[in-house]
Symmetry: D4
Subunit: 146 residues, 8 copies
Amino acid sequence: MDELDKKILRELQLHSRNSFTKIAQEVGVTTATVSERVKRLTEKGIICGYTTILNTSELGMVTLITKIKTKPGYSVEVVGKRIAEMEESCCIHHVTGVFDLMVISKCTGHGKCGVVIEQIKEIEGVDSVNAELVLKTIKEELKVSL
Amino acid sequence: MDELDKKILRELQLHSRNSFTKIAQEVGVTTATVSERVKRLTEKGIICGYTTILNTSELGMVTLITKIKTKPGYSVEVVGKRIAEMEESCCIHHVTGVFDLMVISKCTGHGKCGVVIEQIKEIEGVDSVNAELVLKTIKEELKVSL
Amino acid sequence: MDELDKKILRELQLHSRNSFTKIAQEVGVTTATVSERVKRLTEKGIICGYTTILNTSELGMVTLITKIKTKPGYSVEVVGKRIAEMEESCCIHHVTGVFDLMVISKCTGHGKCGVVIEQIKEIEGVDSVNAELVLKTIKEELKVSL
Amino acid sequence: MDELDKKILRELQLHSRNSFTKIAQEVGVTTATVSERVKRLTEKGIICGYTTILNTSELGMVTLITKIKTKPGYSVEVVGKRIAEMEESCCIHHVTGVFDLMVISKCTGHGKCGVVIEQIKEIEGVDSVNAELVLKTIKEELKVSL
Amino acid sequence: MDELDKKILRELQLHSRNSFTKIAQEVGVTTATVSERVKRLTEKGIICGYTTILNTSELGMVTLITKIKTKPGYSVEVVGKRIAEMEESCCIHHVTGVFDLMVISKCTGHGKCGVVIEQIKEIEGVDSVNAELVLKTIKEELKVSL
Amino acid sequence: MDELDKKILRELQLHSRNSFTKIAQEVGVTTATVSERVKRLTEKGIICGYTTILNTSELGMVTLITKIKTKPGYSVEVVGKRIAEMEESCCIHHVTGVFDLMVISKCTGHGKCGVVIEQIKEIEGVDSVNAELVLKTIKEELKVSL
Amino acid sequence: MDELDKKILRELQLHSRNSFTKIAQEVGVTTATVSERVKRLTEKGIICGYTTILNTSELGMVTLITKIKTKPGYSVEVVGKRIAEMEESCCIHHVTGVFDLMVISKCTGHGKCGVVIEQIKEIEGVDSVNAELVLKTIKEELKVSL
Amino acid sequence: MDELDKKILRELQLHSRNSFTKIAQEVGVTTATVSERVKRLTEKGIICGYTTILNTSELGMVTLITKIKTKPGYSVEVVGKRIAEMEESCCIHHVTGVFDLMVISKCTGHGKCGVVIEQIKEIEGVDSVNAELVLKTIKEELKVSL
């Protein structure tokens, strides 16, 4: 990945709806070059998709952070993939520390959080769950500094 | 927010680069309606932006999760905003539990994580920091179920 | 719930033995209005009952706070309802954090606390119990600010 | 406190709005006896007041449980009394364990909880705060078994 | 227990080998009175025995403090009594907090501590063990202030 | 310390009021030998004193276990000696783990425990205190197995 | 072990490739004496081997520290020996505290750490695992001060 | 680093006193090649030194593991380097988790551990210390699998 790739990715992270022509102007290459680079970055699995950032608290959603310890003899990854199937699950990481998994879920209202926790506790291989709620979100992006 | 708004947001979350015409076909209304709805959802602060999802581990980045306890007498929000200024910071939440803030950062390599932790520890109002590293990311999206 | 409802509830929280006539004078409406409003608030489940606040430490009672982790595969709510059947149980909440339930019990004397903890540990679905004792109660009310 | 006192207190805990005549019938003594006993129990500080139990989650309130460690050199009781002055504070106990105080607050909505936590953190003598939210209340009474 | 009982117990706690005649002189009563009081205090179970305080670190012994969580469904007291049968066990308390039992053991040397911990872990009903070693004993008495 | 020393110490631990003549009979040596050995063991600091074991819960006393973290820059031993001056302090150990000191205190009643904790918190060099109460004592001796 | 033994061991710890002649010069005895002493120290099991210290982070290796709680009924030592068979395991200690074993492993890269943790979790008798990663090694030697 | 480098390092890790000639025979190259490769690996900082592994418990040494939280505003690395100057310090790592540093020290006897902990607590920038002792060492090497 060279400096041009990085420039294009920076543009796409900031505003994914911009046309390749617009991006080409910004980074100072032809539209064809941008198009070709994006194609290659997508094929290499670096670009995974284009999404829209919503203000979820404006939508009345509550962000739930659960840390999960899996039972001995169960694969952390397999348990994580089962949790990934729940529609409230946004991020699932295998992490260091006392717990094996950290999950970020978006729930429709305060009451739903308890239900989601109970559902996670029912998944096979889950040993214990530590749940915290987000009181206020100060920043929430997926954009990384390249 | 009615059912049409939700349909449009679902489309935009799945593929933010689609044209309003394409989205209009998918949800069964005119392009003008989609355009107008998106304009209104943006004005109301529900749509915050359009971004590109990158596979950060493919880029050699390490995800760092820090939990921060702020000193008594300091505003959690003010400390959170200072951390938000660091270019590695992606998500910052004021959370329940022993720690006040949970921060997700993307660092260029294992070694950089120690540096980021030291920088967070230097911010005024930070009392203590608990850092964990992501060993493997199983899912990472901002897309929510509407 | 309008401002009049709130005024009546404030009066009832402060002194539940006052007659509707007395309350009517305080809030400046007719006795019939108070009576009707209380009836409606009771039917809507907002008023749950009228009770007397006792100074339990004056009665030689010790307040026990237990936090309970339930076993995976057991419903937190079902376990909580079993604990609610114990006559020492006053408050039972499903909470965030490492433990699932927080229970406040009133025990007749220091020695009884150990017995209550053993009884809670015997309830099916209880995984572990963290017990703390109240050394001194500084305030204890159910009255909320409306 | 004899068995008759206990019977009267049981009645008053169950329904504090009942007249002394009604209570006298229930426990099998004269109204004058009930009246005199209640007067004495109030003078001895055993009866602290009469209140109305509201379903706070029905009112959109969120129950916040904070555990507070006080700084060395500060009186736990003095810090507790300062917290008692906040209108959201219902119960404040000096407890065993790592934290010195356990506080139960009733907040008008999810967002208010963060504000209350920040306010508690600003009180002089507060060293650190561990906040948990109630996801669901299974039982909430002050009634004790006599 | 009156003031004379307390005076006699204070003397016996300070030097249990003193004759009743010596104690009688110290507290200003006849030897017969001391003898009679000691007999009664022993019968009431207040005096449990007379022992010699040894400097165990001088004897090369290491003091081990284990905190034990018992499994749900097992009586804390029964598990505690099983541990009491081990010859290294000096004190066993059912305590508040995350763990159910706190045990103080005296082991002949550093290496023996690991063996004692393994033995405690093998007792039925023991769920988990947290072991700490005493680095230095600053005070160790059973004498209480009456 | 030879086998005879051990035999004598075993006798003295079991019943410190026994005469040297009685002990001499038990261990099969002359009274003069016992007397001489006890003198030497006392001079070497192995025998520290003779005391009487009281059933403190029978006396209405509550056993308080506090774990204390000292501030950086303060000597754990100096802080421990300050706590040793409190009349409620029985045992004080410098221990491994998160806390530096473990203190066992005997308090006259439940209410006194809170006062003792507040007094410990006021001692210079004390950073934080974790207090637990004994619910029931299963065994409490200083006797060690020689 | 006398002072000469210590001198020889100090030399060997500092530079194990030095010839006995060189060491003899350094410590001021004959080569034969050094040779004989080393032979005896090896026979007594004090010298366990001669190794080369590598800068593992220079080799791209990540140091993983896992703390392991073993299940009740399983020998800590037996579980530790199973973990010792893994080629990544460098140091395994039976330790005090909440966890029974502390393991230091050297893994070829960040990603391998998760795999090693999963493998440890699969070993029979392992109850739970707390994993931490080394962000930077400041010192790493086996050399002790004699 | 190619396969030959790895082979040579494997030999040197297993027995650092072997001559280059012996190593050359084992790996099937000339002595000159081994000599040259070792020179290059040393210059690149991969080979840091040659040491002798001692059985420290055989020498009566106790292994102490301390975890250290540094104060906000202090560099973890600077504090770590100060600890590295203590002659008991063997390994010092900047780690993830609640604590910033993990230190392994070798102390001459149980009693010395308390002294070392007190010394660490006195170093500027140290906020708190969690100390554990090794009860038994199951494996202790620096050898890594290449």
